[in-house]
C-alpha cells in the first residue's frame, strides 16, 4: 500500500455511526491499576464495547451511553490515577493510525506533555486545598524609587571599599 496520507477508509457500519464514540483511557504513572487490569475490568463489565489495550492504557469504542457507563464504573477503580479523553477517530482508523501514515497524529504530542503532569493532578485531586489566587500587582513608584536608591547606595559603598583596598596596596 502506498504511504498516502489521505486514504478513503473502508469503514464498517459502526465506524460511521455518529452515536458511536471513542474514549482514550490514560493511566498516570502512579496509578494503582495496570493497563491489563483496566482492560480486564472493562471486559468484565460485559457491555457491548470494543476494547483495545494500548501503551497509555486503553481505548474503548461503542454507543455513547455504554461508553459513559463504562467510564463511570472504571473511575471507581482508581479515581486519582485514571483519566479519560474523547477521541474523534475510531481505533485503528487508517486516517490517523501511525501504521498507515508516516509521522504521529496531531494530538499525540500534546497528550504526551499532559501525561507528564498527571501524577500531580491526581495528587491535587486526592488532597483538595483551599487556594487563594494572588494577583501580582506592580510595585508602587515610591517603593521602586527606594529600592533603586538603596541599591545605588550599596554600589557606591562597594566601589569606595574597592578604592580603599587599592589605596591600601599602594
Amino acid at each position: 500500500m502506498p504511504a498516502n496520507l489521505c486514504i478513503t477508509p473502508d469503514l464498517g457500519k459502526e465506524d460511521m455511526d455518529p452515536e458511536v464514540s471513542t474514549r482514550m483511557i490514560i493511566l498516570s504513572s502512579k496509578a494503582n491499576v495496570s493497563e491489563s487490569e483496566v482492560v480486564n475490568f472493562l471486559h468484565m463489565l460485559n457491555l457491548p464495547l470494543t476494547i483495545k489495550w494500548t501503551c497509555y492504557g486503553a481505548m474503548i469504542s461503542g454507543k455513547d451511553k455504554y461508553v459513559k457507563q463504562a467510564i463511570k464504573e472504571l473511575r471507581k477503580l482508581d479515581p486519582y490515577g485514571i483519566f479519560t479523553k474523547e477521541r474523534g477517530f475510531a481505533p485503528g482508523d487508517p486516517r490517523r493510525c501511525r501504521g498507515h501514515r508516516y509521522g504521529p497524529r496531531e494530538g499525540f504530542h500534546q497528550m504526551e506533555k499532559e501525561f507528564r503532569i498527571l501524577d500531580y493532578v491526581g495528587e491535587a485531586l486526592r488532597n483538595p486545598r483551599e487556594v487563594e489566587i494572588e494577583k501580582k500587582e506592580p510595585v508602587s513608584v515610591d517603593y521602586f524609587k527606594e529600592a533603586l536608591e538603596s541599591s545605588f547606595k550599596e554600589e557606591s559603598n562597594n566601589s569606595s571599599d574597592e578604592n580603599k583596598s587599592e589605596d591600601d596596596k599602594e
Binding site: A3, L5, Y102, G103, P104
Partner: protein
Amino acid sequence: MVQIALVSCGTEYSGIQKEIEKAALKFGAEIILPEIDLDYINEAYEKFGFSAQSSSLKLMIARAMSIVEGKCKPDAVFIATCFRCAEGALVRNEVRRFIQNNTRIPVVTYSFTERTKADELFIRMEALATTVTRRSILAREKQEGLTLGLDSGSTTTKAVLMENNKVIGTGWTSTKDIIESAQTAAAEAFEGTGYKWEDVDGIGTTGYGRFTMGQEFGAELIQEELSVNAKGAVYLADCQKGEATVLDIGGMDNKVITVNNGIPDNFTMGGICAGASGRFLDMTSRRLDVDITELGPLAVQGDWRKAMLHSYCIVFGIQDLVTTLAAGGSKADVAAAACHSVSEQVYEQQLQEIDIREPLIQVGGTSLISGLVEAVSETLGGIEVIVPEYSQHIGAVGAALLVSGMGNRHE
C-alpha cells in the same frame, strides 16, 4: 515511487490535503510526512532559531530539520502555508532557503487558499517529480549539436533552432492548429540556415501543445513550461548559478517563477484581468495609433505621473488615457502611464505572492516593450531587471537546450 515530503501548515484545515496528494499521485509521486518526536521538535526548533508562535510552524521547522539532518530521506519537498499568513510566509521562505542551502533536494513552495484544487498543483508536482527523475537533464548548462525547440503557447507558437550553444534561427506565429502552427514556426527558424527537419539531432517540446507536438514530431523531450522557461531564462541571462526570478507578462496570462541554481522552486500564474496583461498595452498602442513595437521607446520618454489613471481596468483605465489625450496630454506620458499601470497591477496581483529574488529576468513578447521593463523595475523599488536576447523565445530556447542532453537521434 518518488517520495515528496510535505512540510506545511494549514493544509488539512483548508480542506486541500487530498488535492495535494491527488496532484502528487498523478505524476507518480507520493506524499510522506517526516516522523519526529516531541523532544526532537523542540531541539530542532531551538537550533533553527526562528521564534514562531504557531506550533504547527514549529513542527514545519522540525520536519525541515529532519530532512536536512538526513533523518528523513525524501526525493523532493513540498512546502506550503496559508495565503495571507505573515508568520507562515516567513517560515515558508526561511525553511525553503534552509533546505536549498544545505541539501540538493528539490523544493517547491506554495501559498494556498481553500479554493486551491489539484489541477493548480499539477504543474508544480510535475516540475518537482521531473526535477527528481530528470536531474541530469536539468543540470545541462550548454547546448550541443543541432536541436529544435518548440513552444506551443495558448496565443503564439515559437520555434528556435540551436547549434553548438548558439541560436541560429527563430520562428514565431500565432497559434491556430497546433501542428500547422508549429510547422510554420519551425520553417521560419530553418530559413537561411541550410538545415531541414531531418538534420536535427533532437526535438524538445513545451507549452500547452507539448504532448500533441511531441507525438507528431517524435520529440525526445516533452516538458512542462515551468522547468523549461526557468532553464531558458537563466541560460540566456547567464544566471545559471544562484537565485533569480523569471517574469513573463503574457498576452493573456502572467507567470512568475523563482529559480534556485536553474531549478524552479515556486511559481504563480494569473490571468483573471486583462488590465494586468500585454493586452492592455496592445489596446493602448491602438488608441495612440502607434505600432506596439514603438510603444516602449515612447513610454521611456514620458512621465506616467502626468497621465493619471484612476483604474487598472482595460475599459475604465483606457478611458482615462483617452481623456488625458483629449485634454492635450502627450502620447509619451500616456504610453508611460499604461506601462506603469500594467506593472503596478502585476505587482499587486501576483508579485506579492512570491519572494522576489534578484536579478529579475523579464521574458516573453512584452519584455521587448522597454517602457514596461522600466516600469517593472521602478515598481519593485529599482531592482535589476535583465531582458536577455531572444527573451520572446524563452520556452523554445529552453527546450532546445535541454533536449541536447538526451542524445543524438542519428546515432
